[in-house]
Symmetry: C2
Subunit: 372 residues, 2 copies
């Protein structure tokens, strides 16, 4: 058994479950759900089904009838369906049946989708996964409302835990933990936006922001998976810590890709984080070097970041060079690796030894050198 | 006892509960929650506490310390806190303790707030309740994220039903009904937006849209209140029907106010629904008079509505005159009254006779001649 086998076994279940949750309930709502299908990669801009990698798309609505084969290749590389996979594997590693965790895995994936759609509007990002963002195809009003719909459908997906025989008290606890994670996502997005208009952000504030915005949802993925399997709060806490550290690692990688990633590979515009003067970890680290006898490069970077509006391409290039000179890239890379090690330690502390546990380790390792 | 007494008794509880739910959890998030407070009317654009009608605002955060006296005057006129009041009164009328229903009342009010903030962005409406809309003060990105936060906080508010001794199975049922209502709100908003770009909308489609977008949340208000009080599904159904019919009545009144309301009284720009070529009930009724031997006025209206972009003031004036000539205003007024009668019938069919039941009747009657 390996991560590839686990993905092959579990991701088609996730895909089928998501398709059930996002089923078109009425012909007059086909375009509404169709926009959700587009974001999932199941439909094109004309809301026509797209060919899945594993075979032809289905004819029911815009969702492909069979999704097997689509998830595996991406699972270890792009983070696609990363959260449901963590959720199902954590459930299995903690001694549960991963099928019972499917409603939670889908719910978390839909919250992730919701946040991407709204973030793209808020950041003005035209591209997502190499395709036009929802707002860029159908406009901001529909994109907001599509995100809202995914938010509610995530909740409705989660309600189905009870149908899968999960005890009521675990359903209730999972529901509360889920909503608390969603609040953190929104608070993190606020902090992220507010950092853009602030000159000084210290490292603790930055780490709190990415904990809220990104890491909490990965923590909830592992936490909910474990909660569905067991009442052992200590064990649940270990998986939660695994997800949290994995999430911190993942976001710092994103920060690195947002500055030094390859547009052709990430599917996003190059250096958008720099263009938008985002206070990512490398930038926060570099700007915190400003003091009486600090390096000139830090002051020069601060001047670039004090400019109004978007940075133009020459300014972006200058900022990237200053960041390199200030050791900001290396610092962020080292911190990412530190969170990776913490994630593995949390897993070890769970004290479980089984195939799913190994799969979680392999999953973390597979993210180490991701390029998107 | 009267509605005024009920409002005086219950609305301060609602206000205090909302203030608890929207409490600032960390100083760095003060501006995030402050924007929510602004939308609730508790803070101004500088996020400073505003004076409540009943007395000075408090000093804790931006929420007034005492809200007594603020709700009563508005409760019977503006629809402010209408949904929590319906929720609490339905709970009491069905034999429950309205204090137990507070988490549900707050949750529904917060969903209403969320939908207004996002609707204002989606519709580009600059004003809300006589003040600048959230997006118009802090920009679209923050407005989207503030709405999202209110959405999650509504869910977290609802979780507190269990703390108030509501049995677990009723909490679970209320949670599901709540999420189903939220989905209808999003679907209704999609239908509403899609109608703008369609030439033909028939009356059934229109009624389905307002059922989703507006009436379902008022239905859920009464339904959840009753659910918290009783397991009698037939009784719960009567209150749900009351809320649904009240909501249909309320929305058709809104349509009338959106065309013929007084800007000084509604706090919204005049005839924005016409300007934005919204397919409101009067318009749908009028446009459906187009057929081979239909009136010229209907064809003229269709021509106006076929123009691209916003209608200019002369076109708005012309549209209003055509609507009058086609009997569209009278038709909508009669339909509003019909739903009002149905709401009262649903109440009668509940077969309860108590003070809260009378208050619900009085509440419906108080909306009959509202001007905002």
């Amino acid at each position: 058994m390996s991560l590839a086998d686990a993905a092959k076994r579990l991701l088609p279940l996730v895909e089928a479950d998501l398709q059930q949750v996002l089923g078109i309930p009425h012909p007059d709502l086909a375009a509404y759900y169709g926009m959700m299908h587009y974001h999932q990669g199941w439909a094109d801009e004309m809301l026509q089904p797209v060919m899945a990698r594993g075979g032809p798309a289905g004819t029911s609505g815009t969702a492909p009838a069979k999704a097997s084969g689509t998830g595996l290749a991406k699972a270890s590389g792009t983070g696609k369906r990363l959260r449901p996979l963590v959720c199902l594997l954590a459930c299995e590693a903690a001694g549960g049946d991963p099928r019972q965790a499917l409603p939670a895995g889908s719910a978390i994936e839909l919250i992730h989708s919701f946040s991407l759609i709204h973030d793209d509007v808020e950041d003005g990002s035209p591209l997502r996964r190499g395709r036009r963002a929802v707002w860029n195809v159908w406009g901001v009003p529909h994109a907001i409302n599509v995100g809202d719909g995914l938010f509610v459908l995530a909740r409705l997906a989660l309600h189905r835990l009870a149908d899968r025989g999960v005890p009521a008290h675990r359903c209730q606890a999972a529901s509360l933990a889920f909503d608390q994670a969603c609040l953190a996502v929104c608070e993190g997005q606020f902090l992220d936006m507010s950092f853009e208009s602030r000159s000084a952000v210290d490292l603790d504030q930055y780490l709190w922001m990415i904990r809220c915005k990104t890491a909490t949802l990965l923590a909830a993925s592992a936490q909910l998976g474990a909660m569905i399997a067991t009442d052992d709060t200590e064990l649940i806490g270990r998986y939660c810590a695994f997800g949290l550290n994995l999430g911190m690692f993942f976001q710092i990688q994103d920060d690195l890709l947002g500055a030094w990633g390859d547009e052709q590979v990430t599917g996003k515009s190059a250096a958008t984080d720099i263009r938008d003067r985002k206070k990512t970890l490398p930038v926060v680290y570099a700007l915190n070097q400003i003091h009486s006898d600090g390096p000139d490069a830090a002051r020069q970077l601060a001047e670039l970041y004090a400019r109004p509006g978007e940075l133009d391409p020459p300014a972006i290039q200058a900022a990237l060079e200053l960041l390199n000179r200030l050791g900001a890239r290396q610092y962020a890379e080292e911190m990412a690796e530190e969170y990776y090690r913490l994630a593995l330690t949390s897993l070890d502390e769970a004290g479980r030894e089984n195939a799913a546990q190994s799969d979680l380790r392999e999953l973390a390792a597979s993210l180490l050198h991701r390029r998107t």
